[in-house]
């Protein structure tokens, strides 16, 4: 059975239908990319999965029905959302931001171990642990956002445009980490407008258009699709 099953999910903002009957599955250990143009509904999809946006349809995670779950419940179960715009705590230090990632956890030893793992992945965060999050560069903030998400002990991590507004070299570094984490067994759902990079790292991908799934398939299938090449890869 798949780790995450989404069946006929629909979401609304007032009367505006933003997602219509979106269905997808994520197997444990996969790295799935969700691509689509601006306003396609990618962010809304992730928000629905983490319980921030109310939806109709069905969400099953590890065999449990999560359709009406609160964000706190989803975090507890290990669905961790690293949001668009990062949503860090700007006046808290890097260290405090990371500790807050473990807010729901009480397993102190494991928390310490996770903190060390994050520091290994992003040594810069360790260097800047006393600095306020708001003073970091965009790339560092994105690293901190991912680090904070990792401190929640995710079983699946939802990444919303981790490359947004970041210098290309740093993007490479961040995607290297994403790949590495996935190789270590972390199931990943990656939303990206930077389609080339996303298709490079993912195993499978879904293309979202106007709130519905227009196309899905393995990374290779998607990247060789003529329509995708034309509208997203500019070839």
């Amino acid at each position: 059975m798949a780790l995450l099953e989404v069946d006929k999910l629909s979401a609304f903002y007032g009367h505006l239908r933003v997602l219509s009957d979106v269905s997808l599955t994520v197997e444990a250990g996969e790295l799935i990319a969700i691509i689509g143009s601006n306003g396609a509904g990618k962010t809304t999809l992730l928000r629905s999965l983490s319980g921030l946006t109310k939806t109709t349809g069905r969400i099953r995670f590890d065999g449990r029905d999560l359709t009406a779950a609160s964000p706190q419940e989803t975090v507890r179960l290990g669905i961790v959302h690293c949001p668009e715009g990062r949503k860090l705590f700007p006046d808290l230090t890097v260290g405090e931001n990371l500790s807050l990632g473990a807010f729901l956890r009480r397993d102190h030893a494991a928390i310490q171990a996770d903190l060390e793992r994050v520091n290994d992945l992003f040594p810069i965060l360790h260097e800047r642990r006393e600095q306020k999050a708001g003073t970091l560069s965009g790339g560092e903030q994105q690293m901190l956002a991912i680090g904070r998400a990792l401190m929640c002990r995710p079983r699946i991590i939802l990444l919303d445009e981790p490359s947004f507004g970041i210098a290309p070299i740093i993007v490479d570094r961040i995607f290297e980490v994403i790949r590495q984490l996935n190789a270590g067994g972390l199931t990943t759902l990656l939303v990206e407008q930077n389609v080339g990079v996303a298709l490079d790292v993912c195993t499978r991908a879904y293309v979202l258009e106007n709130g519905h799934v227009a196309l899905s398939g393995s990374a290779g299938e998607i990247s060789s699709n003529a329509a995708v090449r034309e509208s997203y890869l500019g070839m």
Binding site: R76, R86, K87, D91, L104, M151, C152
Partner: protein, 287 residues
């Protein structure tokens, strides 16, 4: 010299009241206009407990009344939050209006049961001391250290406890806080209880110094509101600085001019700040 001493001691009480008001705004995006009422209830509950429960016993009884009063006010604030505010917590206007209605209600209630005249509580300490040649009442002297202690305790709590960190988290990024599993509703309830406790502490401290009548809430509400905005709505350090500033201006003008002029000058300064620097003196949001 007298100005300095009085300014410091009154300023510290202003800070206690204003900090809670700001904290609730930062966390919940709401203005609790019953904050002055919570302050007033601190004084009234002290009076009630001391006179009716502890039968005007000694110092210990007075201390016990202080503690009971603070706890009671926190409970009232929680009741206010759960019973009235939560109905439409997203509307800043609804919360302002309903909290004002509550303030008016408490005022009338107190008028009926305790009369319109002032209610006094004996002080924890008697006598007076000479500080640099100025005679100051001991109870006045007590204000600054107790308030400072409470403010430092608040700072430590916010900085070092998990609950305190969750308050800061919600204040700085509500959505970020939700995504690490914090429940903003619960954090707001806790914040309101803490803010109420601080206001009540200020009320109990003041109850032996100035007269407490059922209408004082509006005076203290305006103080807290003004300090909050002068300090830059959302900034705790700003609120503390603004509290001392306002208290110095008031005391200084009261000494040099008359009472009435003193308050007028303070009000005009608030108008000027609203018009020329509406973001407050310290504009960064800092909790």
């Amino acid at each position: 010299m007298e100005i300095l001493i009085l300014g410091l001691s009154r300023g510290s009480v202003y800070a206690l009241v204003a900090v809670g008001f700001v904290l609730v705004f930062s966390v919940g995006g709401i203005l609790n206009l019953a904050h002055g009422t919570l302050f007033m209830l601190g004084a009234y509950f002290t009076y009630i407990y001391f006179n009716f429960l502890f039968g005007q016993g000694g110092t210990l009884a007075l201390l016990a009344s202080y503690v009971c009063a603070i706890v009671s006010v926190s409970l009232v604030a929680l009741l206010l939050f759960f019973a009235l505010f939560r109905r439409k917590i997203d509307s800043i206007s609804y919360v302002m209006v309903v909290s004002l209605a509550f303030a008016l209600f408490v005022e009338q209630f107190m008028k009926v049961y305790f009369g319109v005249t002032s209610t006094g509580v004996p002080s924890l300490v008697r006598g007076s001391v000479d500080i640099f040649g100025v005679r100051v009442l001991n109870k006045e002297v007590l204000l600054l250290p107790i308030s400072l202690f409470a403010l430092v305790a608040l700072h430590m709590f916010l900085r070092h406890s998990s609950a305190g960190q969750s308050i800061k988290a919600v204040a700085q990024s509500r959505e970020g806080a939700i995504l690490v599993g914090i429940k903003p509703d619960r954090v707001l309830a806790m914040t309101i209880a803490i803010a109420a406790a601080l206001a009540a502490l200020a009320g109990t401290l003041i109850s032996s110094l100035v007269t407490v009548t059922p209408t004082v809430w509006s005076y203290w509400l305006i103080k807290a509101f003004a300090i909050a905005i002068v300090g830059g709505l959302g900034s705790l350090p700003g609120a503390v600085v603004a509290a001392f500033l306002l208290s110095f201006v008031e005391i200084a003008t009261t000494f040099t001019l008359t009472d009435q002029y003193g308050e007028l000058v303070a009000l005009m300064i608030i108008v000027a700040i609203l018009l020329f620097r509406p973001s407050g003196l310290m504009s960064s949001r800092q909790v």
